[in-house]
């Protein structure tokens, strides 16, 4: 029983990490059709933001709270620069964005290596998050509970943004039909830039969360970019709801197969399941009904 609870939690917590890494991508890739390979490096930039803030402020707890919004800004600004300088010239050419952003991701990795050095750095955990908390009598890591909660807040916030705010309405309008949106007076350029800002900012937030569980190194992003694309594609392109289901599903599948087999085999099984699933349902868990992408 205890092992079931801790495994269940492990699955959800893995899912929440995946979702956090993927949610920004579901905006930029899903809604805008830009294949941003540098998304992983925005995550890495968020992680190094957390590291830098901790170096300056010292206290692990305070700096965690400070770095969350700051990493959002750093990731967002990086995204904004990328959008304004390069991607703006190549909307509707997804394969070009893929190559260009892959190049950008390599540049950012090297930049991180030059600034922070190649060895991974250590971001200390706040006292409060370093130990276990008890859930139904089972010890689970407090840091993971924090990430789970953070993910819920981020996803809820994003859903509200999309459904309730004028920015959300504009984004959805541009995604559904760029021409009609422009005809009704929406500046699609500004909307694109803002969408990219928010999507990339979320990558920064994910980076801060990831410092709580793993190491912070220049190649941190490459660990997550594949899984992030997997979540977005399996969930259904442009669907936050789909991404949530896909992330939770992938996390739980991975963890439970891993318990029965080994980590490597579980990864293979999960990949095979995703590929098979996409054969049956290429549009992903939640289908997109827009004119922008269909």
């Amino acid at each position: 029983m205890e092992i079931l609870i801790s495994q269940l939690f492990a699955g959800l917590s893995l899912g929440s990490v995946l979702l956090l890494a993927a949610v920004g991508l579901s905006l930029t890739f899903g809604q805008m059709g830009v294949i941003n390979m540098a998304h992983g490096e925005f995550i890495m930039a968020g992680a190094y933001t957390a590291f830098t803030v901790q170096q300056i402020l010292g206290s692990a707890g305070v700096s965690l709270l400070v770095s969350l919004p700051l990493a959002f800004l750093v990731g967002g600004l990086l995204g904004l620069i990328l959008e304004a300088t390069l991607l703006r010239r190549m909307y509707h050419r997804p394969l070009d964005t893929l190559l260009v952003t892959f190049g950008v991701s390599l540049i950012l990795q090297q930049l991180a290596r030059d600034i922070f050095g190649a060895p991974s750095v250590d971001v200390r955990l706040p006292e409060l998050l370093s130990g276990p908390v008890m859930i139904f009598g089972t010890p689970v890591p407090a840091s993971r509970v924090f990430i789970l909660a953070l993910t819920v807040v981020v996803v809820a916030g994003l859903s509200l943004l999309m459904s309730r705010t004028s920015l959300g309405r504009r984004i959805r309008a541009v995604v559904q039909s760029r021409e009609l949106a422009e005809a009704s007076g929406i500046s699609s350029r500004r909307t694109d830039a803002l969408t990219f800002f928010v999507g990339s900012g979320l990558a920064g937030v994910a980076g801060v969360a990831i410092t709580l569980i793993g190491s912070t190194s220049p190649t941190l992003g490459t660990t997550y970019i594949v899984d992030a694309f997997l979540v977005v594609v399996a969930g259904g392109i442009g669907q936050i709801r789909g991404a949530v289901i896909a992330a939770a599903g992938l996390g739980l599948l991975q963890v439970f197969f891993e318990f029965g087999t080994t980590a490597s085999i579980a990864k293979v099984i999960v990949l095979v399941i995703v590929v098979a699933f996409l054969q049956i349902r290429p549009q992903g868990i939640v289908a997109t009904r827009t004119r922008g992408l269909a």
Binding site: I35, L125, P141, R144, T223, V233, A294
Partner: protein, 421 residues
């Protein structure tokens, strides 16, 4: 573009990323055949200088570890040069970047031997890089000095192994764990040749020594997800963990480990790939009190080590630490010097013959080491260490005298299934 077309664009790319992510460390013995041309030694021994090759990864994922090895090699060369050189000649190092790719190691090794005409090459780190270079050195009949502990089961006449083989690291660690009363061991490692071979040895050892392996888990290189494995370790009722994880995975492993409330008291972990250099990246908070097995620590108390540590800090910065592979690399340059001077020549066959005498020894920072003429490894003193508050490692047990290398474990009857004897 339709969403389907997008999918077809992204999926192969994702696949390619997965492949490149894993590929570089699993590289087979590449490039060997390309280097087969018979060779006439072109080493120039007439001038005032003698060239040697330094082949370390100065870029790529292994650069972290190998850059400092390169520094200690350079330091040894500078010292020897200041002291009059080898056979009256100044050593002139030629540096090449192995770029963390076994194929590049093989190619650059060939270049160093044939174009630069070096008398010997120092370098290599991963077993994959060594395995890739081995056929080059054998076919060109040149010498490689390899400075890192490894999984054993190899003895090329063209390679001198100055790091520990299994009976100088893993087996002493197991002996020590048994002495501490640990009987149920949980194994966790990265999924490649070193951990898999190490764990085969550990399994055979356990069977012969009344110990039980209660779990054996591997994760892909670079994996950061350890919830399940830590759950398995807790559920297994193990009383100790033997850790052969490599690189960044250690961070995630120890974080998860501490996060569910475990530490060195409740379930000790013995690691064989964490040295002084890796501790800051993993976080000393996560490692305090845990155990490691090597043959050298920065805190080892010998006059040679005091000088070694002080010189290294003076050359490369006060906050630098020294670790086992760095010390082994430094030692390897001196051993080569001893061999050449014993032989009175830079000729490969003469150097090999000098090594065969069994009398090539050096007072290394770790203590006196002797080259074994039979298998080209060196005798070393195994030490169990405990990670302390400041990230350095205290020796808590050491072998009473240097242990002779036994790469094929011929001296261990229980290992018959491993060495195929």
């Amino acid at each position: 573009m339709s969403s389907r077309a997008l999918l077809t664009a992204v999926l192969p790319l994702v696949g390619a990323l997965v492949l490149t992510g894993c590929g570089q460390r699993y590289d087979p013995q590449a490039q060997a055949a390309a280097e087969q041309a018979p060779r006439q030694s072109c080493v120039d021994t007439d001038g005032d200088t003698i060239k040697v090759g330094l082949l370390n990864s100065l870029s790529g994922t292994m650069a972290v570890s190998e850059t400092t090895v390169n520094r200690s090699l350079n330091m040894a060369i500078d010292e020897i040069n200041a002291d009059g050189g080898v056979l009256g000649k100044q050593i002139e190092p030629v540096t090449e970047d192995g770029a963390s790719e076994p194929t590049i190691f093989a190619e650059r090794a060939g270049k160093l031997i044939r174009q630069d005409c070096v008398a010997a090459v120092f370098g290599g780190w991963t077993s994959a890089s060594r395995k890739a270079m081995l056929p080059v050195f054998e076919s060109q009949d040149s010498l490689l000095f390899y400075p890192v502990q490894y999984e054993g089961l190899e003895a090329s006449p063209n390679i001198f192994y100055s790091g520990a083989t299994t009976n100088q690291q893993i087996i002493p660690a197991l002996d020590w764990m048994r002495e501490q009363g640990h009987r149920k061991i949980f194994l966790v490692g990265s999924d490649y040749v070193f951990p898999r071979t190490a764990n085969r040895i550990i399994n055979a050892y356990a069977e012969a020594h009344d110990m039980e392996i209660v779990g054996e888990e591997y994760v892909p290189m670079g994996s950061t997800e350890f919830s399940t494995i830590v759950n398995k370790a807790m559920a297994s009722e193990a009383d100790a963990v033997f850790n052969t994880l490599n690189g960044d995975s250690n961070v995630a492993f120890f974080r998860q480990y501490n996060a569910v409330g475990m530490d060195a008291q409740s379930l000790p972990v013995m690691s064989v790939s964490i040295a002084e250099e890796e501790v800051p990246g993993i976080g000393v908070d996560n490692l305090r009190g845990q155990y490691v097995a090597w043959d050298y620590y920065q805190t080892v108390e010998t006059p040679e080590n005091d000088a070694f540590v002080a010189d290294f800090k003076r050359s490369y910065g006060e906050n630098q630490v020294t670790s086992d592979p760095m010390e082994a690399a430094y030692t390897s340059v001196y051993l080569w010097k001893e061999m050449v001077e014993e032989a009175g020549s830079f000729d490969v066959a003469a150097v090999q013959e000098a090594a065969d005498s069994g009398e090539i020894a050096f007072d290394a920072p770790e203590g006196t080491v002797t080259v074994d003429g039979e298998n080209q490894h060196i005798s070393k003193t195994p030490r169990i260490g405990q990670i302390r508050e400041d990230g350095l490692i205290d020796t808590i047990w050491e072998a009473p005298e240097p242990v002779a290398p036994d790469p094929f474990l011929d001296g261990y009857s229980w290992a018959a299934s491993i060495n195929g004897a």
